[in-house]
Symmetry: D2
Subunit: 337 residues, 4 copies
Amino acid sequence: MNSVKIGSVGLGRLGLQHAVNIAGRVQHAGLAALCDVDEARLKDAADRLAVPGRFSSFEEMISSRDIDAVVLVSPSALHTKQIAAALAAGKHVFSEKPLGVTVAECREAEKAVEAHPDLVFMLGFMRRFDESYRYAHDMVAAGEIGKPVLFRSYSQDPEKFIEGAIAFAPHSGGQFLDMAVHDIDLARWFTGSEPETVYAIGGCYAHPEFAASKDGDNVSCLMKFKNECMVFLFAGRTAPHGYNVETEIIGTKGILRIASVPQKNLVEVLDAHGVRRECSENFLERFDTAYVNEVQEFVNCIVEGRRPAVSVYDGTRVSQIAYTCKSAFESGELLRF
Amino acid sequence: MNSVKIGSVGLGRLGLQHAVNIAGRVQHAGLAALCDVDEARLKDAADRLAVPGRFSSFEEMISSRDIDAVVLVSPSALHTKQIAAALAAGKHVFSEKPLGVTVAECREAEKAVEAHPDLVFMLGFMRRFDESYRYAHDMVAAGEIGKPVLFRSYSQDPEKFIEGAIAFAPHSGGQFLDMAVHDIDLARWFTGSEPETVYAIGGCYAHPEFAASKDGDNVSCLMKFKNECMVFLFAGRTAPHGYNVETEIIGTKGILRIASVPQKNLVEVLDAHGVRRECSENFLERFDTAYVNEVQEFVNCIVEGRRPAVSVYDGTRVSQIAYTCKSAFESGELLRF
Amino acid sequence: MNSVKIGSVGLGRLGLQHAVNIAGRVQHAGLAALCDVDEARLKDAADRLAVPGRFSSFEEMISSRDIDAVVLVSPSALHTKQIAAALAAGKHVFSEKPLGVTVAECREAEKAVEAHPDLVFMLGFMRRFDESYRYAHDMVAAGEIGKPVLFRSYSQDPEKFIEGAIAFAPHSGGQFLDMAVHDIDLARWFTGSEPETVYAIGGCYAHPEFAASKDGDNVSCLMKFKNECMVFLFAGRTAPHGYNVETEIIGTKGILRIASVPQKNLVEVLDAHGVRRECSENFLERFDTAYVNEVQEFVNCIVEGRRPAVSVYDGTRVSQIAYTCKSAFESGELLRF
Amino acid sequence: MNSVKIGSVGLGRLGLQHAVNIAGRVQHAGLAALCDVDEARLKDAADRLAVPGRFSSFEEMISSRDIDAVVLVSPSALHTKQIAAALAAGKHVFSEKPLGVTVAECREAEKAVEAHPDLVFMLGFMRRFDESYRYAHDMVAAGEIGKPVLFRSYSQDPEKFIEGAIAFAPHSGGQFLDMAVHDIDLARWFTGSEPETVYAIGGCYAHPEFAASKDGDNVSCLMKFKNECMVFLFAGRTAPHGYNVETEIIGTKGILRIASVPQKNLVEVLDAHGVRRECSENFLERFDTAYVNEVQEFVNCIVEGRRPAVSVYDGTRVSQIAYTCKSAFESGELLRF
């Protein structure tokens, strides 16, 4: 079986994790090259993972014959251009979300993908590759919970990361684009439907700094989907207990809850604080296996000549919805899609 | 210590339970009389509980010198008139919710209460007397979870009661007035604030019969409160697992969940279905002690000459909010209070 | 229906709770008298509960015509004599465990009970009257878990009560007689069988003071019952999290766990300590309702002329078993019953 | 970094899983060869995993220069000889438990290992490599729960595998050697101590067939360790709910429970059966990551020239203890180590 030679771009926290995964946890793949503008960080990672190709220029990396595919974990603002350039260079592309920072950029990405039907393109909606989410999705798809009535999903970052979030706020798209996009993706995936209306609220409950960016530290929205399903999303940056991603799907015949408690592991502690579970600290810990699984699926698609279930159009659609949520939040009005 | 002689009105399921409680579980009180239009039901209950006073006429009962107070568990449409009549007859009044079936009726009830400042009037928002809700409220009041960010509350009736709900639908006020009033009361109690806006959706996911009454079998709403707190309420009639009342209060420093799983008792079963908890079957089981506690508080207020914390104005306010939620649901518009 | 006039003896923590329960939470009964050698304590309780009869002498109280029955919550060393005297005076008797402080005393109690077949005698194994234990027992009795394989039961007192336990140690019978008796009772009740062998170990893990009384701060034993069921009991005085009484019955077709987590109420807290439940603080909190239920059953037996399911012989048998466990612990040998 | 070339022996369920793991989930290692006496099974696995070396003879495989290390997942009766032969051939050895089927064999294995101090030898006590067990062990080692008081560990196989267990019973060492060895290993690892006494009981509660092999379908034992810690182990083959491995360590300052509920994943289901978690089906599902981690540690030890924390003497000691438990069970006597 052929091994897919991957060049990975961006060595931030998630980028480094992807590199480690490709180097040792993804089958039928090899980490052929790394790319980062920070030369010291590049050298450190490449040395540690024994990666032959080292590039501080993205353009140089994609012109290399030694790579078959790229994994983009670069800043969001670069995604669209890098997707187009990599595809034009004949490379398969896995890109972290978002597809682009505007809907117009997403459209550009769509065109680039359409122009290369022979190449695999996949977007990093990793929650779809988490075992628990997949198990729940299989149950829903098998009709075990009947018709979906309410889809509820939370994304909460721990308070302890708040300084970084505040610093990043002016460059961020806000909570709906930064955090709720994954919940929007799940809502579409689980319900098989699209939103019709959205009402969004929230505020700066602990950190007034977000107001300057027309954002809140905690926000929520209620949407009605075309199939009548109610969708309630909540995104927050001040979780006192840890990294909390939980989802509930109430159906007419059954209810599923995924990670209703963000348990760190299987250890229960009984002490002066009561009976307790320690919590996941961040997305890397909670979705460790999902990050491996999604890149594995990307590689499998390349090897087997398949298309990923997550298409470029999903990326655009999720961005569109997140932008509408953001507009609803900023205007305080009920918006229709 | 004097014993308060109570006449209890209405012997439906909850009425009978109140009678049993007053007869044997409430201190400083005695069940002096029962009243119901169904003579057979009246005789059965009165015999069983050895109650001396038996009335098929409410007016006769309140003119009796042998009772100090009435507990109203009669049909909602009778509440306002019975409250006024009982107060006029010099009796303390405990009434099950709602205060009235229209806001105008609630105003009448207010006037009747205001006209008798010497008599105790209390409305049956029993959840406030549940030990877990009280414990959580104390924590919130003590500032342990910081500023409230999101208040989420569910009221779900089990699917097995659906036939009764369908039959009752034309006479009912709909889900927001029938079920969500308790969640609305909790939202005001926990946040200490009032709603500004509401968006409400839902539908007939399993039972189209509710559409004829402009209602759904499952509904929800998202409200923004004056103190910025987000409030999400969900009410449903098709719960597959049992009677489910759960509440979550997300604060900036802590999160509380009350009854996130509607456990019937402390028994955990491990068998072919997995590791499981059986669920509460109905409100009488779940709020058994709360129903005792609320009437105990009513009696204590009489004995000690205190006013209950739940006022007649709370009853009006909750009805107003529920009506606005209903209008929002029926119109599909975002409404402002 | 006649009301049973009860005289309650002993006003320690549990005694006071029994008095409160009889005064206001037990039906068909009235608290006619209180008895305690501490006159101040007696006056306080009697005033608070408006009890007419007040006795500092037990003998005087039982010679009163104003009481039908006694509830004994006196020091263990007095139980046997008070049981005999009360029965001889024609009073029904409810006694807290133990029946006697030696097996010989238990035999005396048996004789006293046998001499008064017309009077109701009941022993306070309150766990049998806890709703969760009853629910589990019904399931086992209905064959839902098949044949019992392993019965495991823990009784743990919180560390914060350790000073009292150390002070009381020289007068106590040790852990098996003080604490494990309830687990022994449950084991016999759930399995319907009797022990054949016992091996018992333990030690002073945190508090060497117990060694002087040939006791440990934590002990356990493994017994084989006649029906082959394995029985593992653990009793400890250093629980870091609270008052923990939990039981597991593993059967060939199902497993039941009662209170596997000593949750204080239905509130879940998510904060810096993780996701947690606060714990029961003591036996009065955990078995609040069970203490009411057991005295209610005593009263019902009197009113209805029934015998309680818990007999005096159960009291003797449990004491015998506890003494054998104690001997096994002290000798380090495997003992046969 | 050098890649360790591994030859894996035995292609039963666990053997196949080890092969899959080595081929794709263990870093710095490659699956160079497979060995099984069943040629069809060998071809299938080798084709599927693209393994160059294929051997139906163990001796041939270890004489190959293309492998650096062997992983033994062969029948227990072959372990000792294969360990010795592989070491003699200059190969590093990872062997599944047990070290040998008698203590004498374990001693032989010790000698073989001692004769090759330059080669890495490691035994497959995979639970030590499960993340939750490691996390708990770290907490205990850091003193967070104080002094260990009670160590309780269960190993339960689901009833649905009972036919295979009955068929294998005559060739098996019984429950203590087959199942409880892992709990014995954990007990020593967590307490850092050794047993002094053991009392063991059990029986055939559902399946009399085990009696012919002097075994039971469910057994337990209570041991006192030298550091005074009480150790209670339970092993059963009739679990109604799934594969259940759980451990509790009660300390003087805290209590830890590992996998007190054998949850399959993070999905909670609320339906007609209540609120429930589905359970792990078997050891491969529960310890999936642990099986990868242990071989990874073996490989890391080879690459880094380290010795594994689990020594050959641990293997002997665990076997000795399991044999003593077995003798105690068969004799019904209290045994001292």
